[in-house]
Symmetry: C2
Subunit: 126 residues, 2 copies
């Protein structure tokens, strides 16, 4: 399999696909973008990303922590305080992620139009 | 919410996150990368991506078609022949997607190490 001019063995490709799937995930992107501003508490992230469920937020944060993009600091106060911040890896992935996000931002109308067209043809079939 | 120097309204951000989640999806990336070489039949894609289930391949192709990245051509032979190829949008998204994939390829060992470290701390807790 090839990416640009690079030949990639299949198992590497699966891993790269897996990493892409992680950072490209809707909630992960939003979390990384938010944490770039400053470290945030769990409750702040939850408030900022309105539409995310606790289950998905917890799962996404755990995956980002496991992959080394984000670190989690627990302050043993009462109640305990949990802060999340970007690691080096998280700050570095922002560069290509930004490019992709800019592309998505510039081309979102084309995607929305394509969806409307597609859905219209599906309606015709019914 | 901000991406680089661009301020983004919340609803746009959700849409961009949604588009990113789509193209950043593991199977979508693999399909887009494969189709960049040449148009392919369903069965070829299935053979190339070994580990994908029919259900996931069908669903991913349908989403890529709906979003305008891929087009599907049915040749009414017996049995019918179904070809998939990249549209303009799919070729254009390859540029930033390539950057992200290159990043993932260069940094995959750091992610794998982070995962091993994380999993080791989880084992300790048990």
């Amino acid at each position: 399999m090839r990416l640009g001019n690079i030949d990639i063995p299949r198992d590497t490709c699966q891993l790269v696909g897996n990493i892409l799937g992680r950072v490209g995930d809707k909630w992960s992107v939003l979390i990384i973008v938010l944490l770039r501003e400053r470290p945030m508490r769990y409750s702040e992230l939850e408030r900022q990303i309105e539409t995310v469920s606790k289950k998905m937020l917890t799962r996404t944060l755990r995956n980002l922590e496991r992959d080394g993009f984000v670190s989690r600091t627990v302050t043993p106060s009462i109640p305990p305080r949990v802060d999340y911040q970007l690691n080096d890896l998280g700050r570095e992935v922002m560069v290509p992620l930004d490019e992709l996000a800019r592309w998505a931002l510039s081309n979102k109308d084309r995607v929305v139009e394509a969806r409307l067209r597609y859905d219209a043809t599906q309606d015709e079939k019914e």
